[in-house]
């Protein structure tokens, strides 16, 4: 842990936006969701919220896509990337229950020929294991084209627990795999740290509404700040608490800069 003075925290505590720091949110969504109300959930409201605190760019997979309507979700983010230049990076969301031709069609349309730069998988909502055969065309595509993949992970979920990703990573060595929520719970974060030691292209995404005290520092100390990514889940939740978690963390400011944006810039080749 660092006891040095943090200029980033001092600026944030003074209410200043993170102007001058690169802030890339590696994990956002877009639009409404079924079980609770989200004010201003579309791209306009997200950009408004990003501008209140200084988030430059949001990597986004609309809720439609991680739910039952991946074609709709992919179209929504395609449009947002077009409408808000430089503010969104698009994930192509895929549903393993669709025919393989449909999955390949979405990847071809949006990643090879479109404006989406990465892939999002949600094995929990789609109730299908990330290692399952139906995801194989996705992993093969990502590996062939070196496309980053963000996957929802959660401790204890047999479909997407962090420990699954060591073998998966070695199987598809050209893919940067972002462990969404870093396993979700304290136990999941510990599991994410452990698995990250087994394969170098695994990254821990801080996204989550619950980040107990000390877990961010634990991840940084466990895998290095180069492998930890700022993410918020916005607009599923407010993105602004995550700014505070990172800014006030007991780590050096240079580590915060890697987490806030420099790592994502490298992974997404921006």
């Amino acid at each position: 842990m660092s006891e040095e003075r943090s200029r980033i925290w001092e600026a944030v505590r003074a209410g200043e936006k993170l102007t001058g720091e690169l802030v890339i949110d590696c994990h956002t969504h877009m639009g409404p969701w079924k079980d609770f109300h989200i004010p201003r959930p579309w791209a306009e409201g997200m950009v408004f919220a990003m501008d209140t605190c200084g988030i430059d760019l949001a990597a986004s997979a609309p809720h439609a896509g991680i739910g039952p309507a991946e074609e709709l979700g992919n179209e929504q983010i395609r449009q947002a990337v077009e409408d808000y230049p430089g503010r969104f990076l698009g994930y192509c969301s895929l549903n393993p229950h669709r025919p393989e031709a449909a999955i390949r069609g979405e990847l071809d349309k949006h990643v090879l020929r479109g404006n989406l730069k990465a892939i999002k998988l949600h094995p929990s909502i789609h109730a299908y294991p990330v290692t399952g055969e139906r995801y194989r065309p996705v992993w093969e595509f990502a590996n062939e084209h070196s496309v980053p993949v963000l996957v929802h992970t959660w401790e204890g979920d047999a479909r997407c627990r962090p420990s699954l990703f060591a073998e998966l990573g070695k199987q598809y060595p050209n893919v940067d795999m972002l462990l969404g929520h870093a396993g979700g719970t304290c136990g999941g974060m510990d599991e994410s740290i452990e698995v990250a030691h087994k394969w170098e292209r695994l990254y821990l995404d801080l996204t989550g509404s619950l980040l107990p005290r000390g877990m961010l520092e634990r991840m940084v100390n466990g895998v290095g700040a180069e492998r930890v990514l700022f993410g918020t889940d916005m607009p599923f939740v407010d993105g602004r608490p995550q700014i505070g978690y990172v800014a006030c963390a007991r780590i050096p400011d240079d580590s915060k800069r890697l987490i806030f944006g420099l790592n994502a810039k490298r992974i997404f080749r921006l």
Partner: protein, 250 residues
Amino acid sequence: MSIPFFDCNVMFGPRSAPRPESALSDEEILEELARTGVERALFVHAWAKEYDPRIGNEQAAEWAAAHPNLTPAFVLLPEHTDELPAGDALLGYLAAGGAQAVWLYPKPHGYGLGEAWCGAMFGTLAEAGVPVLIELDQTSWGEIDGVLGKHPALNLIVCRTGYRITRWAYPLLARHAGLRIETSFFEQHLGIEAVVEKFGADRLVFGTGLPAYDSGGAITPILYAAIDDADKRRLATGNLESILWKGARA
């Protein structure tokens, strides 16, 4: 912009099973409050929740007496088992310890919030103006509606609500003027702005959950909220100050 913060949700004292990262000593909690710029805190002692309210409250009173920036909140039980006093004696007990608010933990302490258990206690607290804090996982929105329907003068701060609450909470915020939401975990996208616009700036109260949770993530949603600075100060400090029981100072 310098916004002072008054945290309504801090716990001092040794807990039964803290994770190592959050197992702070009382001195370390004080240092953390100072480091993150939280000037004041309303707190409970862990023993009052996890062992015995009376013994924990004694610890809280002693700790607060030595630290003027700390205000104790006593953990209460309903009076039926004679473990804690009732009526005027309860108010005297709070005043003697300097307590300006109370916390309830009905699940680990084994009672309900209905009139059979808490009616008399809520009546005393409402009449005197003592605010009550409770975590959402200790109760339900239906139960909260019942309590505030019976005791409309009661100030009730619901803590650690999460971001999925507004379909449940909005009708109750409209019906019950005494209902307030603590801000840690109220992480709804643009939710602070929405509540302030719909219900005014006096219904949200800053809290962190320290030491289990860091202060930074609770501070920034208020600092960055698209509301005016006067409203930010209400959320950060003023709303809690305005409802704390003043009887302890009398």
